[in-house]
């Protein structure tokens, strides 16, 4: 199979996955909420307005017509109006998705930037008490639920020491023209430190442990013996020869992690009142804002799938040994 047919096949697969997810989502919603507009009555919508909303989602039509309408709308990026925000859903969702991605990517990058060298170093000190402590701490942060570490971090650094703000992305009120203007400020950095750290600490364990384990495997390989025989300094062997060859499983793990990044960490966004997509889904769930919940989830899934696809394609470029199956 050539690279091109592989790519085409992979893209088709992604589109297929997305279609299946959209279908599942559609039927889940019709099963769980036969009449999503019923929640609107409590908000004082009259019969006429309600009928308009019903028509917008085609709720009077037979199920298959609704399904077709849903798919056409989704393809055109038309997700209707949010019940609670009274604004087009797509605008809200794209902004929130950006906020989630900033938080997640910063955290993942930080986790891998620290975790990989740390893992290499631990493998070098294998068997020592440093090694044990390192493994223990890594697993500990992996085991502690992030909402709890987040709360504790807020308690200590936000409330106790008053070093960091405890909620939001920016000090309110603020003006920003567009997304980049919003995030390239010191104020944003100030707000981002705690949540990014909490997510990074959670992710830290896996690159660290994978790196450590692969390094231990690599130490047994012949080329390391060779390097030793040549009399190279241990540090050079560690970082120049062993580490490079141990990176592959870490990169695989990184790919999986980034692939799921758009899913975000709902709890971290909740604890730090980070206006991300996960928190938006939770709010939509709580307020029964079904257009928003449906669209947020679909866009999130689309993003996860595209990221997976992108990472896969990059990966084949990075490691030629990966077969185009």
């Amino acid at each position: 199979m050539t690279r091109r047919t592989y790519l085409i096949k992979r893209v088709l697969q992604a589109v297929f996955s997305l279609w299946i997810i959209a279908t599942i989502l559609f039927f889940l919603f019709r099963m769980g909420l036969p009449d999503p507009t019923s929640v609107l009555i409590t908000e004082g919508l009259n019969a006429e307005q309600r009928a308009a909303v019903r028509a917008q989602f085609g709720l009077e039509d037979p199920l298959w017509r609704q399904y077709v309408l849903f798919l056409t709308n989704a393809v055109q990026g038309e997700f209707g109006t949010s019940f609670s925000y009274r604004a087009p859903v797509s605008e809200i969702v794209w902004e929130r998705l950006g906020n989630t991605m900033v938080l997640m990517l910063a955290a993942i990058v930080l986790a891998y930037a620290i975790g990989v060298p740390l893992g290499a170093w631990l493998s070098w000190r294998r068997g020592s008490s440093t090694d044990t402590v390192g493994i223990f701490v890594g697993l500990m942060f992996r085991s502690a639920p992030m909402f709890w570490t987040g709360m504790i971090a807020i308690l200590i650094f936000g409330v106790g020491l008053s070093m960091f703000p405890t909620s939001g992305m920016r000090t309110l009120p603020y003006d920003a023209d567009g997304f980049l203007d919003k995030i390239f400020t010191l104020d944003f950095l100030w707000h981002a430190i705690l949540p990014v750290l909490i997510v990074a600490l959670y992710y830290l364990g896996s690159p660290m442990l994978i790196m450590r384990n692969t390094m231990l495997e690599v130490y047994g390989e012949d080329f390391i013996e060779m390097a030793r025989a040549k009399g190279l300094p241990e540090r050079d062997i560690l970082y120049k020869h062993a580490a490079r060859n141990a990176l592959l499983p870490v990169v695989t793990q990184l790919a999986v992690t980034i692939g799921l990044a758009a899913g975000g960490q709902v709890v971290v966004e909740v604890v730090f009142s980070w206006p991300g997509l996960g928190r938006e889904i939770l709010n939509a769930v709580r307020t029964s804002d079904f257009p928003l919940a449906q669209a947020s989830f679909l866009i999130m899934a689309a993003f996860v799938i595209s990221l997976n696809l992108l990472v896969d394609i990059l990966y084949t470029t990075l490691d030629p040994r990966v077969s185009f199956r």
Partner: protein, 572 residues
């Protein structure tokens, strides 16, 4: 002894676990937590949902910026206090009497009654009189207390009219005149006579006594004529307490934040707007314009010259009396109050939450849901994942394509948001939580098992079995399955941890099974109440328990990694 191959295969991982020190520690910790879940009702000293209340002889002292809690005077509620010339007396429930000489410590006085004492007064000679339920009248002279025989009645308040005569009022509109030397009681006719409870009495500046009671009732007793007459002070609420300063300033307090104030002996009664509408049980006013009122839930209001201001208090105890001695201001209570947000104590090892529920018991009970969802979810996940992996890896071809494409689709679904949507659509319940946890997680297991099966199915023993005529099912479950069992165990252990965190996450977001107690749910309550920023005993234990449980499971799984990854084994 020969074991069936499947059992023999299962023994391998177990032996490995026992060899690894960390895994043994993990198993011990997990064992403790499982025991905790099994014996939760026995281990928890309280019902985790019970709202705990406690009675206490609480003393609050006015500090520079708040009323501070002092050491309690016994376990029984304090109802009233009186002070004269350096000598102070406090009375309370079940015959509680505390006395204090000038600047000394409070000492408990011996009295021959178990009845609840409601009121106390001291006269100029230092003679004390206390009254209470069951017609209890006690006379004290500084050395001892004598019970004065009296008809049975719920006596609410008492005041000395002169050196020997005391006026006592009761819950059935009793107005009694007691001659303390002779010990005889004269009943005074009430001008109302409908059995209204009279709650308090105070001596006015002109030597008459003013009695207040329910429904805004006010009666003035004139000792010169020996008659009682109705008086209007402008309220129809239940009045609980009256205090009149020597110069004639007066304060009446009552239910729903009722505050009636009179500036001087001949001034008019004014109804002051109250900053809180809970019941006020005690008031004190001075001729210099200072005034304070105290009531239920630790409410204390001070008069700042123009308006009543709520002042911060250290607790939510129900205050019943005020004792003002010079600059020393004391508020006394407390009936049974809900022990909200109390820090760890001997009674409540992990403290209590905002509703006064015992947190230790909640944490112990929380292990049940965590382990139930953890193990049930993980079993379901491994069951689905292993079978999908086995079938896909063994049959290959179209079956494999369909199954593995399904797994690919699953990888496109973000976990937490999917669980949220499930709960939105199908009301939170234990089933939905377990489903939400397991519906997506099996994707990893299926992929891992399949890749192992792919290599196993080409091994000679599988080919031999096939040649011998074994059915597909037999090969899959009797020949291949035992070989992937270590991997299955490893995944099971990892997913137990993942499931526990997932359940905690859902519960933390308020989407867990309703009416159940879980670690995530405790943290949800803490966050929702807003008190988590101060109540560390509320936040710490559930998180530590989740972490310990998951960590112990991870330790166990690490020992199994050796089985799953033979290259690690070679190194040992």
């Amino acid at each position: 002894m020969t074991l069936p191959p499947i059992l023999r295969a299962a023994m391998g991982p177990l032996r490995l676990m026992v060899q690894d020190r960390l895994a043994v520690i993990g198993m011990c910790v997990l064992g403790v937590i499982i025991a905790m879940a099994l014996f939760a009702p026995l281990l928890s000293p309280h019902d985790p949902r019970h709202i705990n209340e406690i009675e206490d002889g609480s003393v609050l002292v006015r500090g520079s910026d708040a009323w501070e809690l002092r050491e309690s005077l016994g376990p029984l509620a304090l109802n009233d206090a009186a002070h004269h010339a350096g000598q102070s007396v406090i009375v309370g429930r079940s015959g509680t009497v505390w006395t204090r000489a000038a600047a000394g410590d409070w000492t408990r006085a011996e009295v021959e009654t178990e009845a609840d004492l409601n009121a106390v007064d001291l006269n100029a000679d230092g003679r004390a009189i206390a009254v209470g339920g069951l017609g209890t009248i006690l006379l004290g002279n500084g050395t001892g207390w004598q019970v004065v025989p009296a008809p049975e009645a719920d006596l609410r308040s008492v005041i000395w009219l002169d050196a020997v005569t005391a006026l006592i009022v009761g819950a059935n509109e009793e107005i009694w005149l007691l001659d303390a030397t002779a010990g005889n009681i004269v009943e005074i006719d009430s001008p109302v006579g409908r059995g209204f409870p009279l709650n308090a009495v105070a001596l006015d500046a002109d030597g008459t006594a003013l009695i207040v009671g329910e429904r805004g009732l006010a009666i003035r007793y004139d000792p010169d004529t020996g008659t009682a007459a109705l008086e209007r002070i402008g309220s129809s609420r239940d009045l609980n307490h009256i205090h009149i300063a020597p110069g004639g300033a007066a304060l009446v307090v009552g239910e729903r934040g009722t505050l009636l104030r009179r500036d001087s002996a001949d001034g008019a009664w004014v109804t002051d707007p109250a900053p809180d509408t809970r019941a006020l049980r005690a008031g004190w006013i001075g001729d210099d314009g200072r005034a304070v009122a105290a009531g239920r839930n630790g409410i204390i209001m001070e008069w700042d010259g123009t308006a009543w201001q709520i002042v911060p208090t250290e607790s939510e105890r129900h205050l019943r009396a005020l004792l003002v001695v010079g600059d020393d201001w004391l508020a006394l209570g407390s009936d049974r109050f809900v022990t909200r947000l109390s820090p760890p104590s001997r009674e409540h090892w992990f403290g209590t939450d905002h509703l006064g529920r015992d947190l230790f018991s909640q944490n112990v009970h929380g292990s049940q849901i965590a382990l139930l969802v953890g193990f049930l979810g993980a079993t379901l996940v491994v069951l689905i994942g292993t079978n999908v992996g086995l079938i896909a890896g063994y049959y290959r071809g179209r079956t494999e394509t369909i199954l593995m494409r399904t797994v690919d689709v699953m990888y496109g679904i973000p976990f937490e948001p999917f669980a949220l949507i499930l709960v939105l659509l199908f009301q939170p319940s234990l089933t939905i939580v377990i489903l939400a946890v397991s519906l997506l997680t099996w994707r990893t297991v299926a992929r891992l098992i399949r890749s192992q099966v792919l290599s196993l199915r080409e091994r000679p023993f599988v080919k031999a079995a096939r040649v011998a005529g074994a059915s597909d099912l037999r090969i899959m479950y009797l020949h291949i399955f035992p070989n992937v069992l270590p991997l299955v165990f490893l995944e099971l252990a990892i997913i137990v941890g993942v499931s526990i965190i997932a359940e905690a996450t859902l519960s933390f977001l308020g989407l867990g099974p309703p009416q159940s107690i879980s670690w995530g749910g405790i943290l949800h309550d803490a966050r929702l109440s807003g008190a988590w920023r101060t109540a560390w005993w509320w936040n710490l234990p559930p998180g530590i328990l989740i972490m310990t449980t998951v960590l112990s499971v991870f330790f166990i799984s690490r020992s199994l990694e050796v089985v799953a990854n033979p290259r690690l084994r070679a190194r040992q």
